[in-house]
């Protein structure tokens, strides 16, 4: 099956979702569902490639879809101007071949993880803060999921926000494009590079680290899926 017959849901159209969307469209993906409930703000413009000053105040999902359709007129681009939540998540995830999570908050990341695991759909997770990025792929099978690694979202006050810690824009572009390249690998039948291992990259030092992520006994997300063959 070629990429033109495959589909992806991209959660978020900003620092990570933006480059992921550009890269997936350029790769020739046939159907792209993008979702975002935010409006364009000035502080987005140092790193979010879809948006310009003239878009300030506009709905991100609408603007991103318009720009993507110009680049990839033969692809089916579906824009959802809403938050990914427990009400819409199962149906959205079931309707695509892969989920790319470029969201900017832990509640959404864990919801995307739990929903993808329950639906048996591959999920590419990405996160970025200051000059560090991390990626993890969750697929059905023996490899662990985001909740196997972190159990619960951290308390709201435990981590600084993007506004407090900052984000290096080009690093977000790097991570978002890596997420898309990983989705392409999965959609073309290759093994994912981040399946069962979290990639952590720090831009200033240039160093990367791979942390093994195994399925954790008692993980509430994985409990509902079949146990891996011994």
């Amino acid at each position: 099956m070629s990429l033109s017959d495959r589909s992806a849901l991209v959660i978020g159209t900003g620092g990570l979702g933006g480059p992921a969307l550009y890269t997936l469209a350029a790769a020739g993906l046939g159907r792209i569902v993008l979702m975002d409930a935010d409006v364009v703000e000035t502080s987005n413009l140092n790193r979010q490639p879809f948006f310009r000053e003239a878009d300030l105040g506009a709905r991100k999902a609408v603007v991103a879809a318009e720009r993507l359709r110009l680049l990839a007129p033969t692809a089916r681009i579906e824009a959802i101007d809403a938050r990914f939540d427990a009400g819409n998540a199962p149906e959205l995830v079931r309707a695509v071949d892969v989920v790319v999570d470029g969201s900017d908050n832990f509640a959404t990341r864990f919801l995307a993880n739990d929903t993808a695991v329950a639906a048996g759909k591959p999920l590419v997770h990405g996160g970025i803060l200051r000059t560090s990025a991390q990626l993890l792929t969750v697929v059905p099978g023996p490899a662990g999921c985001l909740r196997c690694l972190f159990e619960e979202p951290p308390p709201h006050e435990a981590l600084p926000t993007n506004a407090e810690a900052g984000v290096l824009g080009a690093l977000a572009g790097f991570a978002g494009a890596l997420m898309a390249a990983e989705a392409v690998r999965l959609l073309t039948g290759e093994r994912g590079a981040y399946v069962g291992r979290l990639l952590a990259f720090e831009a200033c030092s240039g160093r990367s680290r791979l942390v093994m992520v195994r399925r954790r006994e008692g993980c509430p997300a994985c409990a509902a899926r079949p146990a891996p063959a011994a």
Partner: protein
């Protein structure tokens, strides 16, 4: 130059990063970067320079937009056949009033270079020009699913010392966009925080970056000139 309120609002997310800060942002604004090669593969890299607030971006590319560029970030199908440098510059200039983007002017004296040349020989030539000018530069070696990014701060081992001689330079895949963004990130860090920085090469292999310090090859002209 002191950052005005508009710039502080625009670049707030990177001003709070210690590796950039207000002084780094001012250095980015003062920089004039010559970008060699503006194919679809290079497009993400050039775009991130502009978004970061690099003051002047000059695009050096004599080719036209090809079908291979179509659909890649800056190049919708409607611009195939148009001059690449002017097309990319027009799109990028619309994105920020804090930068100047244009095809490379004949007398343009750059303060840094970003090289996405289409062949190994052109990469070597573009890097050598930057080295002789004494400006920091970053060179991209795409190779199919991955490739490498070589950062050459002033005085560091040159690109020829660090380039991969086994690279087949296969056409880039989706990972090419990642490599281009990584190259922009490397140059932004060099420009924002100049000083005694070691040269390095980051290889991207099946989505995993690996960094190593570059080492001057015995007998390389870059070492002889430093010794003088």
């Amino acid at each position: 130059m002191t950052l005005d309120a508009d710039r502080i609002a625009r670049f707030s997310r990177q001003l709070v990063i210690p590796a950039v800060g207000e002084a780094g942002q001012e250095r980015l604004a003062a920089a004039r970067v010559r970008v060699v090669g503006a194919s679809g593969t290079a497009a993400p890299g050039i775009l991130y320079l502009v978004l970061a607030g690099v003051g002047t971006v000059w695009i050096d590319d004599p080719e036209q937009v090809t079908p291979a560029d179509e659909g890649q970030w800056l190049f919708p199908p409607t611009v195939v056949g148009e001059p690449r440098a002017a097309t990319a510059a027009a799109d990028l200039q619309e994105r920020s009033r804090f930068v100047h983007v244009a095809p490379l002017p004949p007398e343009g004296a750059a303060t840094a270079a970003l090289v996405f040349a289409p062949s190994a020989a052109q990469s070597v030539a573009a890097a050598e020009r930057a080295r002789r000018e004494g400006i920091p530069h970053v060179v991209v070696d795409p190779d199919g699913e991955g490739g490498g990014v070589v950062s050459v701060p002033t005085g560091a081992p040159c690109y020829s010392c660090a380039r991969s001689v086994v690279s087949a330079r296969r056409p880039p895949t989706a990972a090419g966009a990642a490599l281009a963004a990584l190259a922009a990130e490397e140059l932004i860090l060099l420009l924002a925080a100049p000083g005694p920085t070691a040269g390095r090469r980051i290889d991207l292999t099946r989505g995993v970056p690996t960094m190593r310090a570059t080492v001057r090859l015995a007998g390389c002209a870059c070492g002889a000139e430093i010794a003088r």
